[in-house]
Amino acid sequence: MTTLYAILIDGMIYASWLFLVAAGLTVIYGVMRILNMAHGSFYSIGAYSGASLVGWYFAGGDGAPYWSYLLLLGAALAAGLFIGLLVEQGLLQFMYKRDEILMVIITYALLLILEDATKLIFGVDPYFTYQPYSLLGRSSFGELTFANYDLALIAVSVLIGAACWLVLNRTNRGKVLRAVIQDREIAVAMGVNVKLMFAATFVVGTTLGALAGALTAPAISVSPGIGVEVIVLAFAVVVVGGLGSIEGAIVGALLVGLTRSVAVHLAPQIELFVIYGVMSLVLAVRPQGLFGRNLARKI
């Protein structure tokens, strides 16, 4: 019994984290058809910005500790906006006519560059900014104890998921964006400013990535290489759910999160294969992912 609800809660916490990590990736792919390899770097830049700002705040001493959450969010937004605009305006906007696969390689180059840039800016010493994590205390369910921060992460992730969905489905801007997703050329012909849409989408995507990093930072030790670890994970979630679909990312995160939780509790030996196993299985049955669109074959 304990194991059962442990599986559920652990699975939910992990799934919500996976969704946070994958949301930005799927938004960018959905609109721009760019499979962004550098997404992990945005995650790690967010984590570093959040951790260093909050670390600096607590080193100062006197401020009220709860302000640190605001700082965490602020750091993520600032970092995401800055790096998103820099990359989109400085590089990607000149590349949109290139092949989808070539875009993967361009973002791979970006990943290499940003990994080292992060290292040069923040150093290689791990950042250990635990305050926001331990501040919220813990809750006990029966014999299990959970950190409230992790539980709060579920709420944040639901909020972000809902916000994305609402913007896409219930606002005018969202509807225009969906038109761009459906058919870029027709949208341009109808007078949609696709350039602006692309820039906005990319910045939103990087900010979501940075946000995921900043929110994860207090629970981990932020060190070089965390971004690279995240990429494949986020890819798996997004591919399982169907590239470019928010609903898909939610379902993919839940599927991967819960399966992994089951594996850890019941068969820890196979944990390493879970993610790739789920991904291969889903792709074998539904090549376009669970929520992916079937593309018509064009002659």
Binding site: L102, I105, L112, Y276, M279
Partner: protein
């Protein structure tokens, strides 16, 4: 009588020059060249598929199979002959490819890339979980023999260099023939528009399947030669970053000429070695900028420099 076209004459000449150079160059350089040519064979595997529009982010799978075939052949099967070991690697790789190729050829674009990545990572996981294979530490390869001859030390490295150059030269010739054949041309057509190829009465899927098998085999040769040269195998060979490197080199060289992957692999090895030395803390950044520069200024790869000049001269 075999008639050689211009490319083939050049390839033969390059092979002969490299063979002589092997005896003159300092041994660290021949070692780098050995590894670069072995890697270039895997890159050829990537390029074959890239020409038909498929990007494999999991070519490390077959690279790793080739390497582990050499390692395990020596350690568990008591096979030490170089040719038997390479043959073993190719056989296993092609066998595996024949099965998963049936699945893989149903996928295109990003999905092909991601699924190939996933499969390669599963092999990585299997090896990591296996303590008799040394898990992530891998294990050392037994000293190989060449048709009964057991070279030692420097001689052994030289022998493997010569072998690598000969195999690479031979495969380059074969690839050149394939590229210039009618079937080779169909690959471009598949990339442009698969349905039109179908209407012409050809089966793109089976052409892609054949490509996949051939790419698997040639990658296994690359893996086997790498294992023989370094004397060590570890599961990093199947890790996705290794596969990423192959794609990197493929783009660096471009897909238009059979020699491009070789040139690109050598250049990549040298750039990396010197980047590592000049900037041990930021060599990845240098690689990243080089890659970006190539994509922006030379979208068809380094080879477009050569091709461009020739066109200008003509």
């Amino acid at each position: 009588m075999l008639r050689l076209d211009k490319t083939e004459t050049w390839l033969l000449a390059a092979t002969v020059i490299l063979l002589t150079a092997g005896f003159l160059l300092p041994s660290w350089l021949t070692f780098i060249l050995t590894l670069a040519f072995a890697k270039a064979l895997v890159v050829q595997g990537v390029v074959i598929q890239m020409r038909a529009g498929l990007v494999s982010f999991g070519q490390g799978l077959f690279f790793c199979i080739g390497g582990y075939a050499v390692g395990m052949g020596g350690a568990f099967l008591d096979v030490h002959d170089v040719f038997a070991l390479i043959g073993l690697g190719v056989a296993v790789a092609v066998g595996v490819a024949a099965i998963i190729g049936l699945l893989m050829t149903r996928y295109r674009d990003i999905f092909f890339a991601m699924l190939s990545l996933a499969l390669s990572m599963i092999l990585f996981g299997v090896i990591v979980k296996n303590p008799t294979l040394g898990s992530t530490d891998g294990f050392n390869v037994h000293a190989p023999t060449l048709l009964g001859w057991a070279p030692q030390g420097q001689e052994q490295k030289l022998a493997i260099f010569v072998l690598t150059v000969l195999i690479a030269g031979g495969l380059a010739l074969a690839l050149n023939r394939y590229m210039k054949s009618g079937l080779g041309g169909v690959n471009e057509a598949i990339k442009e528009n698969e349905i039109r190829v179908e209407f012409l009465g050809l089966s793109p899927r089976w052409i892609l399947y054949a490509n996949y098998l051939f790419a698997a085999g040639i990658s296994a040769v690359g893996g086997a030669l790498t294992a023989l040269a370094t004397g060590h195998v570890d599961p990093e060979m199947a890790f996705w970053t290794t596969s990423g490197e192959f794609v990197f080199i493929a783009l660096l060289g471009g897909t238009t000429h059979v020699a491009a992957p070789f040139v690109a692999a050598v250049l990549f090895a040298l750039v990396r070695t010197y980047a590592l030395e000049l900037a041990p803390h930021s060599w990845q950044m240098i690689l990243g900028f080089v890659l970006l520069a190539i994509i922006i200024f030379l979208p068809k790869g380094l080879w477009s420099l050569v091709a461009g000049k020739r066109r200008a001269a003509a």
